[in-house]
């Protein structure tokens, strides 16, 4: 507010109240200023501007970019992938546990995506042993179920903060262009919860095919049945064709393999839902549940076609694991809201680049690499 020079501050108000002294006018202006300033500070605090050390989705994505570089228009993680399409044939067996339309007997169309981890869309397929499957189920009632799964039974860490620290440890050293092994070793030593993942990695080999892998939800979710009863679950996609082989020397063998397999026929997985027993952790993706837990075969995922991600329907889909239909809910796993927030930030950046908005990364950044 600017001080109204047109008005002597001591002028009587139009109500005929006693005029204010100059001192009291000044005090009242100061009070107004204080109220406004306090509001701005509160806003800035809630928005994280006054808390630069707080972990935000922006910092998470910045770290992914620091590790892999910026490739305009691509996802900031799992950048290299292909689109697939098909449908889910529900067996009806999960219906007792979830009211979601997708579990009623019948078919739900799918737009999906296979990918490898990392932010580099040109990474060779054999460079990592992990593959991922993301799916969007489009229910007839307009609700959607989106899920992003990985070909490993556990996640390395349990919290967004630990994941951020892992990314920091893996950031390439500017001198060598490679991550510093000592930093990585120190990270894993400081995070004993990574043990189950490290044990898995030791035996894992880069698969020759997306189609022969199992994909785990990693995070727990909650199914809600028609009576409102809640059931903690995890799920995985188990391939009908589980023969294993490791990939060849072509850096893009996964895409070629998938195209070839789909030309010969549909590829099928079973959606296996595992029900937690009381006491099974739902907030810790580093821990598997005991093998004797009840499992349901909820139906068959049938993939029928693939398209390059640059032109396919999956390109503009954010596979946010918290886009859930009525009947499926998030668990208390802290990774879930962090994934949702980080995916949203990545999605905003790449769609802004696709729209060529000013201030977004351009292909020059890519050419420099």
């Amino acid at each position: 507010m600017n001080v109204p020079s047109e008005f002597p501050p001591s002028a009587a108000s139009s109500d005929g109240k006693a005029p204010l002294s100059n001192r009291s006018v000044l005090l009242r202006f100061a009070l107004i200023g204080a109220v406004l300033l306090l509001t701005v500070f509160a806003f800035g605090y809630v928005g994280g501007w006054l808390a630069p050390s707080r972990l935000t989705a922006q910092r998470m994505i910045n770290q992914l970019q620091a590790n892999a570089g910026v490739f305009p228009g691509y996802r900031r993680n799992h950048a290299k992938g292909v689109c697939v399409a098909g449908y889910f044939d529900s067996s009806g067996q999960a219906q007792t546990f979830s009211a979601a339309q997708v579990f009623a007997p019948g078919r739900t169309p799918i737009v999906g995506r296979f990918a490898i981890p990392g932010g580099n869309p040109y990474a060779p397929d054999g460079s990592v042993p992990i593959r991922s499957m993301a799916l969007r189920f489009s229910q007839a009632n307009g609700q959607q179920w989106r899920t992003g799964m990985n070909s490993m039974p556990v996640f390395p860490v349990a919290t967004p903060q630990a994941f951020f620290e892992q990314l920091q440890a893996q950031q390439p050293d500017p001198a060598t262009g490679k991550p510093n092994p000592a930093k990585i070793a120190a990270f894993f030593a400081a995070h004993p919860e990574t043990a189950a993942f490290l044990a898995w990695v030791k035996t894992a080999k880069p698969s020759a095919s997306f189609a022969t892998e199992s994909y785990w939800s990693l995070n727990a979710f909650v199914l809600v049945d028609a009576n409102g009863e809640k059931h903690a679950v995890r799920w995985r996609m188990v391939p009908e064709n589980g023969e294993t082989a490791t990939g060849g020397s072509d850096p893009n063998y996964l895409d070629a393999d998938l195209t070839q397999r789909l030309a010969q026929g549909q590829q099928r997985w079973h959606l296996i839902i595992t029900l937690a027993s009381p006491g099974d952790p739902t907030n810790d993706a580093t821990k598997t549940w005991p093998a004797d837990r009840r499992e349901i075969d909820a139906g068959t995922l049938v993939l029928t076609s693939t398209t390059p991600q640059e032109s396919g329907a999956c390109r503009d889909i954010n596979y946010d694991p918290l886009v859930l239909p009525d009947g499926i809910q998030a668990s208390d796993d802290p990774l879930l809201p962090a994934r949702s927030a980080a995916y949203a930030t990545s999605y905003l950046r790449r769609t802004s680049e696709e729209a060529h908005l000013p201030g977004t990364a351009t292909s020059q950044t890519e050419a420099k690499r």
Partner: protein
Amino acid sequence: MTRSTTQFVLAARVLHWLMAAMILSMLFIGIGMVASVSERHEWLIHIHKPLGIAILLLAVVRLIVRLRNPPPPLPADLPAIQKFAAHASHWLLYVLMLVIPLVGWAMLSAGGYPVMLSDSLRLPPIFPASAAAFAIFRHAHAWLAMLLFLTFLAHLGAALYHGLIRRDGVLSSMIGTRRR
């Protein structure tokens, strides 16, 4: 009807204070949810969407109330520039109250998201799926919200200036304590 010349009608006053609370909450919810990776991110988003639609609906009701009940005139001795600022900021507030929720709705539609107000209540899309349109709407949503926050600050400052310094009855015409 002398009261109608010194005070806003009851419906306008109720809507004003109700929406003041909702919009201020909304601004903090919006800025808070995009800066968070915790479970707060999720529950703030779950409040954000139905609250935004509620603000949109109430803004329409309020516009009708406003058009049917002209507000009390500003003090005759208020300088023209301040009168202009008062009118312009009020109409800007109305526009933003209507446009920001619509842009948010269009943004989710363009992003291909189902627009869920609750676990089961879904609004139809109001814009075809388009990544470029999503990006534009998403940025517009944030910048317009910033503009709303700044307009709110100006509005709050002006109200306090009228109430504490000019003491000209403008603030009490909305608080409803004015007796004649």
